[in-house]
Amino acid sequence: MAVNQGYELPCDRALEQVWERLDAVGEGLADEHELTCPHCRTARESLLALREATQELVAETEHPPPDLLGRIMSAVRAEVRRGQMVNLPTTEPGVVEVSEQAVAVVLRYAADSVGGVRARRCRVRKVGDGEAGESLVEVELTLAVSIHNSMGSEALNRVRDRVSAAAAARVGLRLVKLDLVVDDIYEAGE
């Protein structure tokens, strides 16, 4: 390989080669040269020490200061765009609004409650107003299904039921159209 870059031992073996052979030699598979060459042995000892120290470095899980998450998230929240607002039904004068994003959270959660399915993108679009002043909305929900999901369309029917019920009962919107799009699969436990 072209990666030796001049790091050759006095015995003409490349350091990279010694590195690649570390485990083999450790398992007793050393060739004649490796058994006897002092340069190779010295290089192996250095590389083993480096490998041990590297493992310590990997294991060292120094945590960020506890307030870092909070600082990042307040900066993020300061930039949140709420998106379009939709109206909720109300018997009081005036208008009760909720953001499409807030609606999306509730609908995604409803979809998640069906096993083997994860809601990803949720587009909420207002298409009109109902009699009680509530918005009529169309929703497009993009889903990933578990690679082990064998229920297929049955799972999707359950998603449809739960999302429609959540829209009505937990948000107070009327869903006039619900499109479900499955565009990915995920490994279970991922």
Partner: protein
């Protein structure tokens, strides 16, 4: 709350799901991503910069920029790679910005390895201390390549994208870094 674990078993949601939710403005999904990746990014930045304060600043900027650019991220699964790339590049920029100061007066310039580093103070292993010292002797680009590969397990191709070169060239750089590091790991010298 509702968006951070799947309802089926309480297992954490996969990155792609969290990224696509965050892209739509779901702050809690994004918070989960920050929680998941602030540790590795912080450790990478700390080892690149050897200064916790600078590392914190870098990590904060990286996650805020990531939030702003989520819409441009076409592939949900590319999020982590993007984080590594941005963190590395910001660290390299910070180091470049420091250099003139060190060149002016080496004695008066603030040493990057001061006692304000609890991370280094708590080290117990002599080997690890030697490695940390040796890492600072590498060029920043070499150090980045070596850390990304040997500590964070990124692929040669991905590291090549980060530092603007090929996977083969990265392999060579890491081999040189390894030779240099192994040199100081000889206890009898």
């Amino acid at each position: 709350m509702t968006t951070t674990t799947s309802a089926e078993s309480g297992t954490p949601l996969d990155d792609a799901t969290l990224v696509s939710r965050a892209r739509e403005g779901d702050v809690r999904a994004y918070e989960q991503l920050v929680l998941r990746y602030q540790g590795p990014m912080f450790r990478l930045a700390t080892r690149m910069l050897v200064n916790r304060g600078d590392a914190e600043d870098v990590v904060q900027e990286v996650f805020l920029t990531a939030w702003r650019r989520l819409a441009q991220l076409t592939e949900n699964a590319a999020f982590v790679g993007w984080l590594y790339r941005t963190t590395t590049n910001r660290c390299l920029n910070v180091i470049r910005a420091r250099r003139p100061q060190a060149d002016v007066d080496l004695d008066l310039a603030e040493s990057p390895r001061t006692d304000a580093q609890p991370a280094i103070a708590v080290e117990v292993s002599v080997q690890l201390a030697a490695l940390n010292d040796a890492l600072q002797e590498l060029t920043p680009e070499q150090r980045a390549c070596w850390l990304l590969r040997e500590v964070h397990g990124r692929s040669y191709e991905e590291i090549g994208d980060v530092v603007g070169t090929s996977g083969t060239a990265v392999r060579g750089r890491i081999a040189r870094a390894r030779a240099q590091l192994a040199e100081v790991m000889r206890p009898w010298r």
